[in-house]
Structure formats: C-alpha cells, structure tokens
C-alpha cells in the first residue's frame, strides 16, 4: 500500500478536512504531528508539558484516517526545524508522498500537474491507486514551451490512466507562466497532485513551488516525493529503526 505523510502543526490546531480524509482512504496514512519551538526552548521541555495534549489530538486524527483498520498511524515530533523533521520521517518511513492539508469538501475533480522535471511514472501510478474505482475525474495538466513533446507526454499518461478505468481530461498550457496557469486551472478542482522537484535557486528564493501552489489554491496538495535520489541517501546513512536499537543499552 502506498504510504503518505500528513504533517500537521498539531498544537496550533491545524487539522484535516473531511474531503481529504475521504480522498486518502486507499492509502496508508501517517499523521505527523509536529511542534516547532524557538531555539531557546529545549524540545524535551515542550514534550513534558504538551505531549499528552498532542497525543490525544493525534489519536483522534489517526482514527479518522482508519487507525483501527490498520491503515493509519501517527508520530509526534518536537523540533526546531520542520523541514528537517519532514525529510527524516519521510525517508525513514519510505513514504511515497506527503500532503499539504488545505480546505476542501468532497473531492470530485483532481488536478494532476506533470509540469517540469518530475517522475511522471510515479505520479501516474500514485493517481491510479488514489482514485481506484471511485468516481473522481482527473485532469492532467502540463505547462511547457515545447508543445509537441508536451502533448505526447500528456497523451501517454492519459492513455495509461484511461486503461485503468479513470475519467481523464488533459490540459496543455504552452508558453505561459507555469505556476499561475496551474493555480488558475486549480479553481475548478478540489485537490492537486504534483511531483516534488529538486531544489532550485528559484525555490530557495521564493519558497518551494509545492508550498506556493498550496498557499494560492487553498485546497489540499498531494506531493509525490522524488524518491529516486532520496532513498539512496537514506540507504547510505542507514538509519536504524527505533526497534533495532532498543536492546543495545
């Protein structure tokens, strides 16, 4: 089963909409409750005070995602740096995607962005599993300068999804600003799926593209991780899982 990470600033009351819970039903969900602390506060000091409160909230959320059926769990992390926490947990869990929660009702229309240098195959298979046999329309979106290649890529992806029995439309934007067109297209959709891209100078200056899309489109954004290079580094570091290190004390 595909694993998806749902990070939530749990003590700030961040929560998930019913639409997202339903959308993610076919996935194994890990709710990552996190709390970011200023540098002057040791994380353990915050844990002592807030652990019970945060755990109670997380248990409820995990139950909504199906913890009782064994398709969801939760983790709670106190940190100074949320990006580092997300990356660590995602690598440790080998999760395929993460969700930036947003507000949405029932999801009937899904916008899938294939723009840029992203792992199209992984995105397509993620969407296949996410939609399953549910009645959710999928719009494949691509913004490019090369109309011909773009059209071919879109068609190929659309055929794969169509063969799996999904309702697919395609939308090609040529020579237009990619981000703005994507946000415009998102207006008639309930959620967005996009691929994670390698950090660029642009993303360092303006923030990650996925974050910006999430901020401008209001609805949830599901980001398919670019695990091809990430898992190599995770293997190299070879983090022992918690259960492996218990007995050496």
């Amino acid at each position: 089963m595909t694993r998806i990470l749902v990070p939530l600033a749990i003590l700030e009351g961040e929560s998930v909409s019913a639409g997202l819970t339903t959308l993610l039903e076919p996935m194994y969900v890990t709710v990552l409750g996190y709390h970011v602390l200023p540098e002057q506060t040791p994380p353990d000091q915050a844990r002592l005070q807030f652990e019970a409160q945060a755990t109670a909230a997380l248990e409820d959320l995990a139950a909504e995602f199906g913890a009782d059926d064994g398709t969801a769990d939760y983790r709670l992390v106190f940190t100074h740096n949320k990006k580092q926490t997300f990356d660590r947990i995602a690598a440790e869990m080998r999760s395929d995607a993460y969700a930036i929660p947003g507000a949405t009702g029932p999801v009937d229309q899904l916008l899938v962005a294939l723009t840029g240098d992203v792992a199209v195959d992984r995105i397509v298979s993620f969407v296949t599993e996410l939609v399953g046999d549910r009645d959710i329309g999928v719009t494949l979106f691509l913004a490019t300068d090369d109309e011909h290649a773009g059209r071919e890529l879109l068609e190929a992806a659309a055929v794969t999804l169509f063969d799996e029995g999904l309702h697919v439309r395609t939308e090609l934007a040529v020579d237009e600003p990619p981000l703005e067109t994507l946000v415009d297209a998102a207006a008639d959709h309930d959620a967005i799926v996009m691929g994670e891209r390698a950090p660029s100078l642009r993303s360092l200056i303006f923030g990650e593209e996925t974050e910006r899309v999430a901020a401008e489109s209001v609805g949830p954004v599901l980001v398919v991780r670019n695990t091809a290079d990430r898992d190599d580094t995770a293997d190299a570091a070879d983090q022992p899982s918690p259960s492996d290190v218990v007995d050496d004390s």
């Binding site: 003590l11 970011v36 040791p42 353990d44 652990e51 940190t79 580092q84 660590r88 218990v246 004390s249």
Partner: protein, 473 residues
C-alpha cells in the same frame, strides 16, 4: 537506555518526582514512548555555541586587567586556563557522548555522583551563569560607552552600569518573546569576530615579531613573579566558561558521538590559541603598564596602535558584538540549567513552564534575568568574573570525578562513543587543576562561592532529600 533502565525516583517536598522517561538516542532524533525530539544542531552550530559564549569576555575585557596583574606573563595565565579547560573538556566529551541529553555537567554529576552533588552543582550553575552574564553585561557597558566616545559623544564611565542593566533587561525580554534567528545570527557574529581578530592578530603578530612597524623595547616577561600568573589564571578563567555549554544542548545535536567532542575540544583549542596570541600582541604593542591604565577597554587602544582609527573602530565593534553574544548565550544557558534541575524535581516543576504563545520558558528566563540585573548593577567586574569561575570550576572538577566514578564501576548503560585518552591521568589532572585554580582567587570570591554552595546544599536537604538520581538515566 532502553526500557530496562532504572527510572529516577523519590519525591520532593511538594510531592513531585523526577520526570525522566526511557528514551532511545539515535544520531538524528531522541525517541521517547510517544514522541520524538529532532536533533537540529550540527558541528558548526556546536562550535558556534562554544566559541560564541567564550570569545566575548576573555579577549575584549581582560587584557588590561590581566596585564596589570601579571605583566606580559598574562599570556601564560591564559595558556594555563586553556590547559585546564582542555583537561575538563575531554572527560566532559566522554560523558556527553555516553549521555547525550540536555542538562550538560549537571546531568553527568547527578547521575554519576548522586543527588546531593547534582543539586549543589545544578543550582550553583544557575548562579554561576548569572554571575557570568552580569560580568559580560558590565563588559558590554564599557564597550558601549567607548563606542559612543568613538562616535564623538563623550558620556563618561558613570553610564556603564545603566547601559548594562538596560541591555540585560532587553536580552531577557527578547528571549521571552522569541529570537527566531538567534542561532543564525550567532553563527554570523562568531564568523565576523574571528575574521576581525585574525586580521588584527596577523598584523599585530608581524609587528610584535619586529617584521613590520617600529621595534619596541622588550619588557620583562614576568615582572611580578609566578604567583600573579596563577592568580591571574584564576581570574581570567571566566573566558573559558563556554565549552561546557555545548554539552547542555547535547540532546539537540546531530550525531552527538562525533560532533560533541569535536565541538567542545575544538572550541577550547581555537579560543585558547586566539587568547594567548592576543595577549602577547597587546602587551607587545603598548606595554603592560599602559594596558593596565586603560582597563576594561584596553583592546581599543591596541587596535588604534596597529591600524589607527579603523583598528580602534573594529575592536569597539567587535567588543560590542562579542560581549552581547556571550551575554545572550548565557541567559539562554541559565534557563536551560533551571529546566534541567526542575525536571529532576530539585526545583518546583512550574519553573520550567513554557508559554504557548511564544513557545519560550518564561518562568526560567525570569529567574535568570532578575538576579542578572541585580548583579550587573554592582558593576564589580573582577568579583563577578571570579565567582562565576568558582562555581563553574566546582562543576568542572566534579565532572572529572564523576567520570572516574563511572569508569571504576561501569553501569550497563555506560557506552560512550568517545573515550578520554590517557585515563585516569587526564581526568585526575582535570579535577586537581580545577580545584587548585579556585585556591588562587580573592578571598571575597571564594567566600561568596562557598556561601552559594552551602545555600544550595541546604535547599536540597529542605526540599528534595528523598529524590534519588544516581545511576538513573
């Protein structure tokens, strides 16, 4: 460190018991039953904490005072301080890799030597840091007045204390309301300070060696004999009080087995070399009599001697940054040390409450800020520095003793990634040197230090005599 470790037990007078949970330490996070604590500080961050806390006082406030006491041999006093710090940094590194948890020296001593020693050290460290911060703030006041003077506004030294108290209050408020980018800023300040000093020392070193500039008459190295070298070493030891602060963030450091020893030993070595060279260059530039006359901000004149107005300005600016960064780092450490003892029920647990609005430990920060302001108002530079050194030296000596105690009877959980070279000689020397240095202080400082220790011991017997911490992780 798994579930089989004994847990601390006993209750204090209010019925609170130590809040210690079984944890699993990995290189990336600390994992408790239900939560994980991210490790976010790398080697650079650790070095910046160590160097940033140390570099302020020593280099910018002491040259004048030290040269007045010991002549050019003040350089030897600083070297003695560095050796003592290094002898303690090695055992502290071993203990920190065996117990990579927040709390630092207090944690090692309470677990290695028991609750009484832990309580005395933990509570004394609170006061030790308060004295140190007050000392840094007074130093800051002197530099602030000099800055105004460089800018053409002569205000005189009577404004030193008011400015210091004002900024002390400012740092406390800043820390309560959140200093989101303090660590990044600290890294920048440390880098800037190191560059200022390296340029200055590079030029001054060439001059002192007679390669550039005019030759100056060589001075007798130790005009007052050996004893002043040792008493000066005791005075200036305050300059080395930063390295153990690295251990207090052990719980937040990535790959602590490697980064902790490197950060602690590395920062002592870097700072020690800088101090010794600085004193050497300063005494060669102006002569120790002239330095002594100039007092707390003698370094400014040394800068002017070598590089003119630009040099004076660079040193004034550096001194402001350095004393500020030391003061701020110590306010933070104080609140962490209060947290460490209150977690173990040696102080009421409400002392480490966090407010959800800013996410900061406002009670502990207040318990640091209040006494700091009172002590700053006294303006006694040497006394403040010595009492701070006294209380820290007790802790350093006991860290070495705790290491020996743990090694002689190694508990099952004791598995450090780094082991002290030259055991048992290095920790034994570390303990002896730390306690010996106390013997060379002014009687007034020794009395105040002893009184604080007695009060903390009394508090332990009154408040928390049933709490057991020895050997409990």
């Amino acid at each position: 460190m798994g579930d089989t470790s004994p847990s601390a037990e006993g209750t204090n007078i209010e019925g609170e018991s130590p809040q210690v949970e079984p944890t699993i330490e990995t290189d990336e996070a600390t994992i408790t039953d239900d939560a994980e604590l991210e490790r976010t500080i790398g080697l650079t961050g650790g070095l910046a904490i160590g160097i940033g806390t140390m570099i302020g006082a020593g280099i910018f406030v002491f040259p004048g005072l030290a040269a007045g006491n010991a002549g050019p041999a003040a350089a030897a006093s600083f070297a003695i301080g560095a050796v003592v710090a290094l002898l303690v940094a090695l055992p502290a590194s071993e203990l920190a890799t065996a117990m990579p948890k927040s709390g630092g020296g207090y944690y090692f001593i309470s677990r290695g030597l028991g609750t009484l020693a832990g309580a005395v050290v933990g509570l004394s460290l609170w006061f030790g840091l308060v004295f140190a911060t007050a000392f840094y703030l007074v130093g800051f006041g002197f530099y602030a007045v000099d800055t105004l003077a460089e800018l053409g506004i002569a205000v005189g030294n009577e404004l030193v204390i008011p400015i210091a108290v004002l900024f002390g209050a400012g740092f406390t408020v800043l820390n309560v309301t959140g200093t989101e980018n303090a660590a990044k800023l600290q890294n920048g300040i440390v880098a800037l300070l190191l560059s200022i000093l390296v340029v200055f020392l590079g030029y001054g070193g060439l001059d002192a060696a007679g390669i550039v500039g005019e030759p100056s008459a060589p001075e007798q190295f130790a005009p007052f004999g050996t004893l002043p070298i040792l008493t000066t070493a005791a005075l200036v030891f305050t300059s080395y009080l930063g390295f153990a602060q690295v251990a207090t963030v052990a719980g937040e450091m990535k790959d602590p087995g490697r980064n902790l020893p490197l950060a602690m030993v590395g920062s002592v070595l870097i700072v020690g070399v800088l101090y010794v060279v600085t004193i050497f260059v300063s005494t060669s530039a102006l002569g120790s009599d002239r330095l002594a006359e100039l007092g707390e901000t003698a370094m400014v004149e040394v800068g002017r001697h070598y590089l003119g107005a630009a040099g004076a300005f660079a040193i004034v600016f550096g001194g402001l940054l350095a004393t500020m960064s030391s003061a701020n780092a110590s306010v933070l450490s104080t609140s962490r040390s209060i947290y460490a003892v209150s977690r173990d029920a040696l102080l009421p647990q409400r002392a480490s409450r966090i407010n959800l609005r800013y996410g900061t430990p406002h009670v502990a920060l207040g318990m640091a800020g209040g006494p700091i302001l009172v002590l700053t108002a006294t303006g006694q530079v040497e006394l403040l520095a010595e009492v701070a050194s006294f209380l820290h030296l007790i802790m350093y000596g006991l860290i070495c003793v705790a290491l020996i105690a743990l090694r002689r009877n190694e508990p099952e959980w004791y598995d450090p990634d780094f082991r002290v070279p030259g055991y048992p000689i290095v920790p034994a020397l570390g303990a002896l040197a730390s306690f010996a240095l106390i013997g060379f202080m002014q009687p007034a400082s020794q009395l105040i230090g002893l009184a604080i220790m007695l009060v903390t011991a009394g508090w332990y017997f009154y408040y928390a005599r049933d709490v057991t911490l020895k050997g409990k992780l």
